[in-house]
């Protein structure tokens, strides 16, 4: 694939910035611009009606009912006001003219700016026909989480389709609510692609111990329905799992539909250079951005919370002329039952695992993941601080890698 050839900005600092997407990535971009001294106009445009809120609690505290939805707000209102940005909510961007830096919205607004930041995240993937069925849920937005919580209150049997991080978290929260939970997915252990086979197997044991029925290593053929309502999930193996409620957590699709005809390259996200620039004066941050990670020498798109904010800080600096590549150490965490697992870096398939702290039998450990003797990731299980203290090994290896 050819990468966009973009000349570095030549004129002075911009007078106005438009950020599309008013969540973790978008809001942090605006905050970082102000912190770095930008005094021009900032417009923050979002399609959701809610004040900016955070997503990680949705599958955890909001779904369990431990938090009222308002607790998931990203900032208190005074902090939003202090930002001195035009916050335009409930109005989706429907088109972008990249060359003229103009965005059109569904309600008919036409917004122009010197620089535009795309922070529209991803949308939940669904099965064909799924939106027409009742009893089937995704969990991406606050409204999704509240709708699912409401239905789970009267359900008994929950089937979760998808063995990634979201599916595993929803299964754990569902057990906490006392539901009869089955987790189904094609990998041999849950979260294998993020954790690798070794730690994924430990996660599988944890779920089994907590009473979740695992149906792994087999795909889903279809959702079974009667009279417009889901009644179960039919697996490729032929088995049918009966369900009162089904959660489909099979990944996300970058929210780039509104960029058709914009002139930008969108292939599994908005394709950007190492500075996170998609075109002259256009940047992307967060889940939607697929940029060239110079340490890995490859295009990378990360769907995790710290990437959204770190990339936002990097993009704000570049808008103001820093011209610095964005070269993060990837990071994510997940909370399931009383376990917190985190990864700094990545766990490549087939990595060699060495426990460097703690003891897996005691359920507290840090494991270093290497390929060809090089530290690629550090995975921690209920040892957040100690895991962070090994992060530098991964950072050093990334810095040594040839810039691609």
């Amino acid at each position: 694939m050819t990468l966009p050839e973009i000349a570095p900005p030549t004129c002075g600092p911009p007078e106005s910035v438009l950020v599309v997407g008013a969540s973790a990535g978008g809001l942090t971009t605006a905050e970082a611009l102000r912190r770095k001294g930008f005094e021009g106009r900032i417009t923050l445009l979002g399609d959701e009606p809610h004040l900016p809120y955070d997503r990680p609690p949705l599958s955890k505290q909001v779904l369990s009912g431990a938090w009222e939805p308002a607790r998931a707000r990203l900032r208190p209102e005074p902090a939003l006001r202090a930002l001195d940005a035009d916050l335009v909510l409930g109005d989706p961007a429907v088109a972008l003219d990249a060359a003229n830096r103009t965005v059109w919205t569904e309600s008919g607004r036409v917004l122009g700016a010197d620089e535009i930041v795309i922070a529209t995240g991803v949308q939940a993937r669904v099965f064909p026909g799924q939106p027409d069925l009742s009893g089937v849920h995704v969990i991406r937005t606050l409204d999704d989480a509240v709708a699912l919580r409401t239905e789970l209150a009267t359900a008994r049997r929950l089937v979760v389709v998808g063995d990634g991080v979201l599916g595993a978290e929803v299964a754990a929260t569902g057990r906490g609510l006392g539901l009869d939970v089955t987790l189904a997915g094609p990998q041999s252990v849950p979260m294998e692609s993020q954790f690798g086979a070794w730690a994924g197997a430990r996660l599988g044991e944890l779920h089994t111990e907590q009473g979740v029925t695992l149906r792994l290593g087999t795909g889903v053929r279809e959702l079974a329905a009667e009279a417009g309502r889901v009644v179960g999930v039919l697996l490729e193996s032929g088995e049918q799992l009966p369900a009162d409620v089904v959660v489909v957590a099979i990944g996300g699709v970058p929210a780039t539909g509104w960029l058709v005809g914009s002139g930008l390259t969108c292939e599994n996200g908005v394709v950007c250079d190492a500075m996170c620039r998609a075109a002259d004066g256009i940047y992307a941050v967060g889940d939607v951005a697929r940029w060239r990670h110079q340490g890995l020498g490859a295009l990378l798109r990360l769907e995790n919370r710290t990437n959204a904010t770190e990339q936002a800080v990097a993009v704000a600096a570049n808008i103001l002329g820093a011209d610095q590549p964005y070269v993060p150490v990837p990071y994510f965490w997940t909370d399931q039952y009383d376990v917190k697992v985190m990864v700094h870096g990545l766990v490549p398939a087939g990595a060699e695992i060495e426990v460097v702290e703690g003891d897996p039998a005691a359920r507290r450990f840090v494991a270093l993941c290497r390929t060809d003797g090089v530290a690629r990731g550090v995975l921690g299980w209920n040892m957040p601080k100690q895991t962070r203290l090994h992060r530098q090994r991964v950072a050093d290896a990334l810095a040594l890698a040839p810039a691609g």
Binding site: A24, K340, P384, T387
Partner: protein
């Protein structure tokens, strides 16, 4: 400047410690934030504002005076 942390929101990522190590630390047992200095001096203000903004759990608040 006064810093406030909400322990029950904290996710233990340690992002604040990477950004402002003189102001934040983490508990050894569960990684939850420890506030080392609740009224940091002016030399720390930029770092603390960044920590507030990039905290992946939105668990740090500020009262700017």
């Amino acid at each position: 400047m006064k810093v406030i942390v909400e322990e029950d929101k904290c996710c233990g990522a340690g992002t604040c410690v990477l950004v402002a190590p003189d102001v934040f630390d983490q508990r050894d047992e569960d990684g939850i934030v420890v506030l080392l200095d609740e009224a940091p001096g002016p030399d720390q203000h930029d770092a603390v504002r960044e920590a507030v903004s990039v905290c992946p759990a939105a668990a740090i608040g500020l009262i700017e005076s």
